[in-house]
Symmetry: C2
DNA sequence: GCACTCCTGACCTAAGCAGTCAGGAAAGTC
DNA sequence: GACTTTCCTGACTGCTTAGGTCAGGAGTGC
């Protein structure tokens, strides 16, 4: 249930590419702009390339650019490219699990979890991200003050 | 962005406890009912105890039971007990991260991601889970057929 | 031919995941 | 008081992932 450094880096690099309106951007510049270790970033960009998110050219005047327009690439695309399926349970998709006994309905819950993640990640495009004009879903979720607190319920006790 | 076996086991064991209406249930029975390795489960139950989710007594007629009524324990409570904070980015809460350059608005996106997870996990109680009467949020999310497919968008190409 | 940049595989350390093993400590029973 | 039952705890293990670094190879442009 956590976002890896890799996914975070990938999205930030992609955002930087989305903002660069002309010509290839070289890895070094992306690394500097977002303060990401260069060599690590290169591996990430390679993965993004293999998944058809970015393209690249070598040599002088080389660099990376988005394979598709920035408003057609969602954050979900980028995250999936580097992390694989979103919201797997025990490394298998939630709809493929059979639960017995009193946890029969747990599958629906995990499916709902995945759906709710998608409702955010698949709605926000890189264009949204750089312009700051985030979709209504996001605005609604972030407008509740609770959303900005580390933990909401404090019913638990430290037995 | 994945659910660990530990979290899955923890919720299932908690569901089993929620369904047992009278007296302590011993670990062995929980392990059998949900097909969880007993020794592993005992560690999990211990963590749940330390977080005040369950209580326990040793000896004959001993076992585990919920510390609070089943309709006051949410899945979020259980998951947090064994996995820690729910949607940390790079092991820090999203609201604590400073983004520069073109990814300035990424923080809002991660906060929205966390909020959307909470909107599911904090709404579903163990009582909901065992009865199958899931909250409206969940019903809405799972009623869309897309929610049951492994992947929705197929815009990407394998470069 | 040379500089530049991406491309790739190998490697590394630390941590986490998913457990198992062995023994100790309370609670109840006889 | 001995004995059984059950939880409690720490140590350990094997494997994978996270988060990188290093060294070199392969296209590209001049």
């Amino acid at each position: 249930m956590r976002v890896s450094a890799k996914a975070d880096y990938a999205v930030r690099a992609a955002a930087e590419l989305a903002a660069a309106d002309e010509g290839p951007v070289k890895g070094e510049r992306l690394a500097e702009a977002q303060e990401i270790p260069l060599q690590f970033l290169e591996h990430i960009l390679l993965e993004l390339k293999h998944h058809g998110i970015v393209r690249a050219r070598r040599g002088a005047k080389g660099g990376y650019w988005l394979a598709r327009p920035a408003d057609e690439v969602t954050i979900a695309d980028v995250v999936r490219a580097v992390e694989g399926p979103i919201a797997d349970v025990q490394s298998t998709p939630p709809e493929a699990i059979e639960y017995r006994g009193n946890s029969e309905h747990l599958r629906e819950v995990w499916v709902a979890v995945r759906a709710s993640l998608r409702s955010v990640l698949e709605e926000v495009t890189l264009a949204n991200l750089v312009s700051g004009e985030l979709p209504a879903v996001v605005e609604e979720l972030t407008s509740q003050p609770d959303a900005w607190h580390a933990s909401t319920s404090t019913k638990e006790m430290t037995s």
